[in-house]
Symmetry: D2
Subunit: 451 residues, 4 copies
Amino acid sequence: MLSEKLLNEKVLRDPIHNFVHIQDRVILDLINTTEFQRLRRVQQLGITGSVFHGAEHSRFGHSVGAYEIARRITEHFEQYYASKEANDGLWQADERLLTLSAALLHDIGHGAFSHTFEHLFNTDHEAMTRAIITGDTEINQILSQVSPDFPNKVASVIAKTYPNPQVVQLISSQLDVDRMDYLLRDAYFTGTKYGEFDIDRILRTMKPTVTGIAFDIAGMHAVEDYVVSRYQMYLQVYFHPVSRGMEVLLEHLLHRARELYLNAHDSERDFVGPLLQPLFSGESLSVADYLKLDDHVFMTYINMWRNHPDAILSDLSRRFLDRKPLKSIVIDDNTAPLLEDLEKLVAYAGYNPAYYTARNDAYDLPYDDYKPNVAKPRTQIDFLLGDGTHRELSELSPLVAAIKGQVSFDKRFFFPKDMLNIEPDELFADTFKTFRSYIHNNALTTPNPES
Amino acid sequence: MLSEKLLNEKVLRDPIHNFVHIQDRVILDLINTTEFQRLRRVQQLGITGSVFHGAEHSRFGHSVGAYEIARRITEHFEQYYASKEANDGLWQADERLLTLSAALLHDIGHGAFSHTFEHLFNTDHEAMTRAIITGDTEINQILSQVSPDFPNKVASVIAKTYPNPQVVQLISSQLDVDRMDYLLRDAYFTGTKYGEFDIDRILRTMKPTVTGIAFDIAGMHAVEDYVVSRYQMYLQVYFHPVSRGMEVLLEHLLHRARELYLNAHDSERDFVGPLLQPLFSGESLSVADYLKLDDHVFMTYINMWRNHPDAILSDLSRRFLDRKPLKSIVIDDNTAPLLEDLEKLVAYAGYNPAYYTARNDAYDLPYDDYKPNVAKPRTQIDFLLGDGTHRELSELSPLVAAIKGQVSFDKRFFFPKDMLNIEPDELFADTFKTFRSYIHNNALTTPNPES
Amino acid sequence: MLSEKLLNEKVLRDPIHNFVHIQDRVILDLINTTEFQRLRRVQQLGITGSVFHGAEHSRFGHSVGAYEIARRITEHFEQYYASKEANDGLWQADERLLTLSAALLHDIGHGAFSHTFEHLFNTDHEAMTRAIITGDTEINQILSQVSPDFPNKVASVIAKTYPNPQVVQLISSQLDVDRMDYLLRDAYFTGTKYGEFDIDRILRTMKPTVTGIAFDIAGMHAVEDYVVSRYQMYLQVYFHPVSRGMEVLLEHLLHRARELYLNAHDSERDFVGPLLQPLFSGESLSVADYLKLDDHVFMTYINMWRNHPDAILSDLSRRFLDRKPLKSIVIDDNTAPLLEDLEKLVAYAGYNPAYYTARNDAYDLPYDDYKPNVAKPRTQIDFLLGDGTHRELSELSPLVAAIKGQVSFDKRFFFPKDMLNIEPDELFADTFKTFRSYIHNNALTTPNPES
Amino acid sequence: MLSEKLLNEKVLRDPIHNFVHIQDRVILDLINTTEFQRLRRVQQLGITGSVFHGAEHSRFGHSVGAYEIARRITEHFEQYYASKEANDGLWQADERLLTLSAALLHDIGHGAFSHTFEHLFNTDHEAMTRAIITGDTEINQILSQVSPDFPNKVASVIAKTYPNPQVVQLISSQLDVDRMDYLLRDAYFTGTKYGEFDIDRILRTMKPTVTGIAFDIAGMHAVEDYVVSRYQMYLQVYFHPVSRGMEVLLEHLLHRARELYLNAHDSERDFVGPLLQPLFSGESLSVADYLKLDDHVFMTYINMWRNHPDAILSDLSRRFLDRKPLKSIVIDDNTAPLLEDLEKLVAYAGYNPAYYTARNDAYDLPYDDYKPNVAKPRTQIDFLLGDGTHRELSELSPLVAAIKGQVSFDKRFFFPKDMLNIEPDELFADTFKTFRSYIHNNALTTPNPES
């Protein structure tokens, strides 16, 4: 039985939480596994570092940070809300190690450039997370030493099927350890101030209840500030049009590489090295092969492809490594009718529109209030009154009410920046003129995010 | 002619701006006047320090801070928007010293506990500011050395009658040097995070125009964050119910002291010392007498009044100095009908309701958008597009739209906390029971601000 | 018996520690006493705010801050070093409330402008602290409810006579809760960075031992950084020559006022109001009279004395309120022989040297290592090795070794700045010339602290 | 001629300087070159991120940060110290673009894991920097557009042969833009506080002189704090024994890989891919080949080598990627005589000492004062007095005097941690026992740096 406490806690220096405190042998051993160390080789924000150059931090720091928040919460719960009997709405001390393990491992299945990657190769980082926890891995071995069913319990927390809603909501909800850590961390590393909020006050007012996690009414303004901060981070950082212009490049270049690979003779498939081949061959990836993939592998092959004989692959690879993002225009009522002509214009200028244009939506759910007649688990943020009743966040905060519900931030059409400098012949002259004037106006009227 | 530059700039260490840079002899001389040094003896947030104990900073720091922001703006304007001819919408370099002087002196007429004070003694700190600038003062002497009409020009900027709207709006508008400094400063000294915003980005996107000051569209999110931050500071700090419970005490005790003074024989008026007598006598205060008043004077007399023979005055003085604020209940549809009975109950318990109860509203205008058919100067925050058109903030930001227009945050009824412990006889038993239960529920349902 | 825990902890928002957590009824009640609330009316750094305008914070914030550090330490000690038997070098849980109370009250006897004040009026804030704790005060009543001997125990901790050296050293030693809080707090409010150090790491490595408090070797560099930070704060902030030029003014003006008072007829003693008279009369001050004195009282009388008929008192009062410090020159081998002539020159220029000149030393003990053959309690900072041996800080750190022992930072001669502009007749022309040239050179060669 | 200013400056959001301001077309174009973008793929602190997980930032951010400091300095110099004639000790405005370009490009030749790399492959990043600036690169093209000799001028600044010592010292000296940026940046990303200092005050007191750069005496304490901060960063971060335990692993594994490569038949050389082969073949690297190398390439091959048939290479690769550093013991008078036996013991335990042990020194020159009789350029930090004389830092600061001159921080012997768990037979039992006891004592007596 491995659930022992360390004689002396170990600490990791962390810029967000100052110290991450490791008090259990299981947690220390999990961090020392090969699978967990891989997270050092996967950047948290992928391509966003090309716009905010400070944001080069990996998922390793975020994972131990989410763990540290979970540790503080469970310590606070044990001190103030220790359960005396089952299902009384209070905190069961024996959920502690499960909560900490799930917090630490919630991103263990993330791969390089996850969003692009999953879309293209049809993988799913959450499924992979569960596979790593329950499969033939060092992580599974460590977890199994706690108890034979412990790996499955951890996986069920991440899958949101674990029966105790308190544990599930601490790991995945609108105000969970994952989101709290990534907002603070991404704000710190990008150097923007939008993501900051008062985590100390939020943690102090957090409470276990029979239906999960709620907050004391005294924490309302701190929670409101957190939701607004998250909304601003999406607008300003996560959906930055230049990042999306890089992401589109990456997607096109990986797509092109795979096409070339699938259409090539065996003898010409060397340009995709052994680490990537299982992915490109189209068969389903084993956990072991998946774990070999990290940012470095992709970046190294893209580096090699700079000199690939295929003109499109080499050009896209160079643009990607040398940070020449596709430019974009917001798709609105004025520009939408123009896009078909624009694609023709791109083709006329010598670029294959399939690889040099894209349409890309940015949307997020800044806050999801409760819909009483929709049959799904409660997701709203609730405040607890002393008489046992609850009130939901958007009822209390006009700011949150203003941004609740699904929001599409913007849709953009991407194209090569070089297009702006062509001199089209008569046939395309009008389209080009309209195009340039729309780009100009678009730039003038769109609130331009950070730099 | 005194508008010379210093050979070596002087700096003041400042926790908000790191350094305040003093580059002109006029500015240095203004800071060294007796009237400006008095600002060290007037706290910026008055009674708020009794709730947020860090907030003990004076108007001196805020005044040099507002000056420093003005200095940065005029330097930026001179570098990027130097005017070539009059009224071209660009910045006239010769407005610099006027802008800096007005920024430095905008609060020079503030007295101790301004809000309470003005209400009670019928004074007006803005009128006093102009009187200090144009009257027989050291400040007037310094300003007159720039040019004979310079004091009047500075006063007209503060009165908003100066013809150049750029200068006026830098000093007084919804996004002026005063508000920017006080939000950052009050957030820093209270230790709350709500008041923080990205001033560097706001200053970078600020532009002079023919109608005043506008912002580049690229600054929209930073400005939005500023408006939201200000809203949160009002809710969490400036309108804190405990501060208001102290303010109400102060108002009642000064009122009582003046009444005693006015009704007393000359020989019994000693309890009001020579510095306060001009104020209490009810005649209009001279500038010279006004300038002798500061926080220390009031606090010293309240200290003496602890032992005054009048039971009400001594009791209120003790409560004030020993921080025993009146308690409060939100006035809403449920509690409003109860207030008349409550006052009777307070009287029954032995407290004179005129001195031990109060009703107090908290309201602010978080953002005032443009009302086209209202004949008054434009006050909205405008964003400038490259084609010369403007868009107003609340059109662009759903967050600001949600809080624009006049908002009454809450109305409260104040009463002695000791009331909760009385044991009323039969006649009042029912009223008391209802009262206690409302207080209880009120506390449970009102989002409780900080601490 | 009052040593009960609060049902819900209360928090005070604090800029240094974010929150001060109040968990015991005794602590809450102590804060609410009239004696403790008085600390809001005594500035922590006295006259230093006239140089660093952010430093206007009171002893109230520092006192609750020192308490909060003590709270964190005792919580940590209870978790990791709980004693099983008496005198085993581990932490006795029942010392907690004593430690917290002593930390909270360690400065309760401080008066306005303590250093100047004590020197002039022959008072002693440490004796007064003990008198307040053991005398007829609200504080004494609260403490007595814990147990009849509890007030004396608290007083003995502050007097360093309490038998448990752990408790004594937490409150008074070279690395105690007082110093840790004031360094962080003064650095924050002045806006300098010199006072910052890694308190989290220091607290983590602090350990109880049989002889008091020691540190794990892993904390050595954090402790070294603390000692160096403290040294830099003394050089840069606490011993700033302009502050000292203001302090000297204050001392002279209070001295002059007392002289006038003592030499005056009863009928002419009104200029010293009732709150100050017990102090000026020269009899020993009662606790009750002492507690009426605060910054406001002194500042109000100095304000009145601006118009006192005595030319020296009114002039010094104006200089003090209008911030016209005496200027200074470092006393070194070159300047020392000159001082006698300088005093004559000052007299020649029309200033009474007794009130317009001063000599002032600044010295501190940045680090006091152990002197084995000096019979006094151990004061050095010790590091604990796993084999039970200790090593002393200056053996391990070359930086600390360089500044250990008594250091006189500088000695200065103060004089009116106006002296520099006189035009002396022939008799004094040479002295004046030499004087001006030394002032010039002195300014050029002395590392000038902040601003 | 390309030295034009941008119509609108561009900004990069930076966590250290808030914004990096780009005002010249040359600077913008240099940043957009393929060579400069490569710096995003080289971590600033190499292997240090395995100890301080926040420190994953690249040389890109550091390079634009060093540029930003240079931009602030030249702006300040132009405003306050504009030269009127040649060699007058003041600042020549036309050195601006040269200074900015050299600051931006000072690290352009850095490769992956520079220190390990250079030692092993006999490369020199400073020579490579000059080769990139003067060779056939995009950077050279941009620089040449300023003037044909501009690339050589930039290279000569970096080589310290440029005639104007002001420019040279801004780029390379004991207090240059490189060191100032990396200290602040590394402190920020590691999350330690040791590296912080008051850059604003340092920049304000920096002055051009005939012999280079000096500081006003008023900046002495800020400069002292910078030197002490740098010393503490070396002790606590840069020389962390765990980083060094990882570095030693990396060195051994690259050494092993090259040996295997050189001894292999052509047909078995595939395990070293095309990007690494020019390096491994031992011929001198072309600039073009050098520029293809980045962190990703090394990490990808090490990833592949996990499964290499050579047991040593695969084992070292796994240890490196899975963060299993070699453990270490300080070499002192007690342990030095033991090392020979220790190596035998390592061999006995089955590890080849050539690949599993190492001796490693950490040394730095915290401050190099002036040695008058040594014929080399002045390197000391000088303070300027108003009479034209200088004083050197260590004369003024006892703290700096204590750490000046060459310092060897420590020497360590590295070995596999698994050694501690072996059970040696009789022959080695004594050595093993002594060894374990020394390791134990060593750990107990060495001030353990961060985490």
